[in-house]
Amino acid sequence: MIVIAVLVAVSVVLVWRRDGISGVSEILLGDLALFGGILPRVLAGCLLGAFIAEILPHEKVARSLGPNSGLKGLLIGTAFGAILPGGPFTAYPVASALLTVGADFGATIAMVVSWTLIGYGRAVAWELPILGTDFTLWRLLISLPLPVLAGALGRFVYVRMYPKGDEP
């Protein structure tokens, strides 16, 4: 938090010295508008995370997404990340909720990576218009196996880093 605050403060001063007060206020207004726009989505994400942590049966999650869930757990995590609506304000609270109700690092990594790489929200809203259909579709196709591979690698490393099964 402090590091970021300092980073932001330095950036503000640099912008001010380069573009004057109008440059600062222009960026500030744009960012404030963006902030106001995403605030309701942040709330939705937090509520979604809280509900999911509350209503998902813990034993079931532990079985289907836990350390012994195998390839199936990684595939479920990947599918879940791909269909999850919303931006980072949804994905991270939900992933955090999954961790608390018994998913292991591997399945959660598969979910987060799947959300960043093959989640439709960002691809449709941003990548398609900016980078074009051809590039986006091939990029998605190439990315398809990556969440499962990342989850598998995560599990592989995790059991060797914490062989006694320490709390994640």
Binding site: I4, I27, P40, V42, R139, L149, A150
Partner: protein, 166 residues
Amino acid sequence: MSAALIIDIILWGSVAAVGLIALRRSPAVLTSSLREGALDFINIVPRVALGVIGSGFIAAVIPQEIITGWLGPDSGWLGVLTAVIAGAATPGGPVIGFSVGAVALKSGGGAPQVVAYVIAWALFAFQRLLLWEIPFMPARFVWFRAAVSLPFPFVAAAIAMAVGRP
């Protein structure tokens, strides 16, 4: 209807759906998750404010030309490596990351390099790790996930080179 609106509808629809499930379990479950979610929200808002309002300034200080310069028209694995580093260093939201990729494509950057750039940026853009992931998730998980993700932009570039697309 815009894509953002559709996403909002799906998002709030999901919230309503899980809320209904909680309510059917019992009203107490509903109120306790509402309280939990609201507390998370109050905790997270200052960090999101700093992140969103700050990121515009950070992005304004790091000129996009520098990043595209790194991507450059150079090909091969050195190009992929610089693309991965550039992806991790790119600040700001999706518009900036994808725009830099688009500029790099137009200015002659190789497709595997741009794929590596976009994927590295999506997986572990440093600013997003700090501003978005750390506030919401256990820090230990975030660093672990970022470390485990390191090889995958290279894997993606290798696949792109092998299939000769995009």
